[in-house]
Amino acid sequence: MNVLAASDPRANLCRGSVAAGLAAIWLLVGCGPQESRYFGTTSPRHGPDEIWINNAGEPEWLDPSKCSDGNGGEIIANTFAGLVQPHPATLEPLPDIATRWDVAPDGRTYTFHLRPSEWSDGRPLTAHDFVYSFRRLVDPKTASKYATNGFIFKGGAAVGRGEAAPESLGVRALDDLTLEVELEDPLPYFLSFLTFYSFMPIPRHLLEDLEARGIDPELWTRPEHIVCNGPYRMTEWVFRQRMVFEKNPRYWDAEHVGLERVRVAMVESYTTALNMYAAGEFDWPGSNTSLPAEFMDYLSGFADFHRDPYLAAYFYWINTEAEPLDDPLVRRALSLAIDREALVKYIARGGQIPSADLVPDGLAGYRGLGLPVFDPEEARRLLAEAGYADGSEVPPITLIYNTSEGHKQVAEAIQQMWNKELGISVELENQEWKVFLSNAELMNFQICRMGWTGDYADPFTFLELLTSDCGNNHSNWSNPEYDRLLQEANRQTDPAARLARLREAEALALAEQPLIPLYIYTRSQLIKPYVRGIDGNHQDRHPWKYLSIDESFDPAAPPAADARAVALPAEAP
């Protein structure tokens, strides 16, 4: 008998059909009578000192130098403390391990004064640990996917390319508690970027100790070894099941850390995560669990549903080298023929902000270009000017996107808009993620969908995408004038003059339309009404140390308007 021949075809089912089945069930639930103002349970099930959250998957690395995924980033952000920390609502940098800092008049040299503090094993934390960490981030031997984050330091790019020794990096410990950092450019966003997990300190003594004991120092973040300096420390890590964190008594501000214990699950399926939230197994599905568009209308009716703007843009890259898209007129016509309001209202459905600009309006004081989000008349005129009296004369165009229901719906809507407004028929092709990435990298496409999450609150995080030597520029578009404007902007010490240059650059680029911006994301999430301390901010960063459980919460009472506001400790850190 042949077992193989009888193998179950259901094994081949992939997420798509699973999701479809689950969606069908959820629709059934959704059609039921709405009994509560909240989605699921409303009383804490894990006591006043503990919270259960989700982290949507196993982290790749918990090593700050090596981590490059949100699942790891969330853990690192709460187990390590850097020089500065983000304000829970405004994200502006607040003192953390550094109590104060001096900036040289040229804006390139920062001197940080550190508070005396300890690692979780009681060893003193010094400026040398930061020096070690920053060098390690950039050193190609570390093989960090986020090594480029350290290229802001003087000499960073040369070290990263293996052309200079890590010791030549512009970071120095003047003494145990004084750190001097030299930057390549006077970046105005440097301090907020410094709150990012790549810049957390590394316990050098632990890595050296492991090496001396013959243990691979790469394994230093496993629970049996890990040493950290942040609000929480890991006490348990069961692969793909859970991580448990307890308050780190040696964190310098431990007295203001709210909860004793944080239990983190790794549930990848959003429907499963929603079930667990509804049943009260999760008090908060966490920053890394995204709610799907198909449930948005239903969920947004509940009082524990929250939506905040999110610093990320959704756009289409255009390969500007292949006909007919080598003509900027055609590219602009395509952009203007998209009805972004309709796209957001009927397809994306998450309250996203329709935008033909790449940089969100108001970002760090930036005044957005305010390009028209839909102008079919002008689109037709531009197409005619390009020499196509009718869209059907335009040579065939293919648009690729990575397999996902959401991307498919957006692509189909745009395909239909282009056909309706311009008469251009575009072919759609979905590709599995890694195939898609490989085609994007090799410029093996005409139009491809992409998203970009800002790493820091500054227009540069988006505008850098279009520079000639940026590895993330998937347009084949390059313009020396654009590169020059950005460079000039970053050398400016006057913030207003800098923003003006950046704006000039964005206008220049979008007049040639190497990419088609569609909308600015929002982040929607569910938070149990008895959970306190999750403020809204545009990077969806919610430090656990501010969390608390309000046991006196009364589900019958109307939801408090300020339930999400985080109260910082009086003697502000």
């Binding site: 042949n2 259901r10 699973v18 996917k145 793909r240 099941q241 499963t272 079930n275 667990m276 993330n472």
Partner: protein, 305 residues
């Protein structure tokens, strides 16, 4: 008997080798790399990563190296979970998948055989029709519908069991039922069919003629006939419970190895893909063997040649 088992075991080796070669070739032919990501990785970093996993060597060298490691029982490093070896990942997940399959198997046998016996003994009564109707429904409902329905009713409405997760006995029940039901339904129909086939045969008539009680006739004679088709079904059923757990493990977030089937391939986690393929190939081949042997024990007419 033992000789033939040994020979069959030896025959596994070339089969496994072919599977290793085929899966190695297929996974490497797929476009993309384990390290491709939305964000550009500096070339120097990419070189270091490739060197760490040996991807900088020519493919034949990589293949031979893999075979060498395999011979020592080393399945390599995962690229998606860089702090774990494939051996560790499988050791963490396979017992979970086995536990789930065991619960599903017990459930399907208990329910299936009981319903089958009722159907056969009370042929063409209300009991029979009810049991077979239930079996028909069980076969027709896919696990990705049954699972969420159970969660909806048992977890969210009645608050009896957790909706997902893993840890204690309460977490095993819903996924076990979801996975086992479809097999229970098949087993019920097979048991009933098998028993009805022998119900009119000479040895049953003889058994009745020599005055055995109806109970003994059913348990000792009819059931044996009824179970033969079930046994031959169990081999593929257990195999597909193990491979078919992909969906159930996703729905209930069970940390077994099912999801790697899909995810490891999507992530181009080369060594993990190969480790999982090898594990299942080995398991399926051994299951084949076990079924053949059991069959020859139950039915002397089948020679184990």
């Amino acid at each position: 008997m033992i000789r033939s088992i040994l020979r069959r075991l030896l025959e596994l080796v070339p089969t496994i080798l072919v599977i290793v070669l085929a899966s190695f070739a297929l996974v490497r032919l797929a476009p993309g790399s384990p390290f491709s990501s939305e964000k550009e990785i500096p070339p120097e970093v990419r070189r270091q990563l490739d060197a760490k996993y040996g991807f900088d060597k020519p493919l034949p060298v990589q293949f031979l190296r893999y075979l060498g490691n395999l011979a020592r029982g080393d399945l390599g490093l995962s690229t998606k979970y860089p702090q774990r070896t494939v051996n560790e990942i499988i050791a963490a997940g396979f017992p979970v998948t086995l536990t789930l399959a065991a619960v599903a198997l017990i459930w399907s046998l208990l329910v299936g055989i009981t319903a089958g016996i009722i159907g056969a003994v009370r042929q063409n009564t209300v009991w029979d029709h009810a049991a077979m109707a239930a079996a028909l429904v069980g076969i027709s409902i896919p696990s990705f519908v049954l699972g969420p329905l159970l969660v909806l009713v048992v977890s969210l409405r009645w608050h009896l069991l957790p909706p997902a997760g893993w840890g204690d006995w309460r977490h095993v029940i819903l996924p076990g039922l979801t996975l086992g039901t479809i097999y229970a339904a098949s087993i019920a129909r097979l048991t009933r069919g098998g028993m009805l086939e022998v119900v009119r045969s000479d040895f049953i008539r003889t058994a009745r003629a020599k005055g055995l009680s109806e109970r003994l006739v059913i348990w000792r004679h009819m059931l044996k006939g009824g179970l033969l088709p079930v046994v031959s079904y169990l081999g593929p059923a257990i195999a597909s419970m193990l491979t078919g757990s992909v969906v159930v493990e996703k729905i209930f977030n069970v940390p077994g190895i099912g999801p790697y089937f899909v995810d490891a391939a999507f992530n181009r986690d080369y060594f993990l893909v190969m480790g999982i393929v090898l594990l299942y190939a080995f398991f399926l081949l051994v299951m084949n063997l076990v079924v053949d042997i059991t069959y020859s024990l139950l039915d002397p007419r089948i020679e184990s040649s």
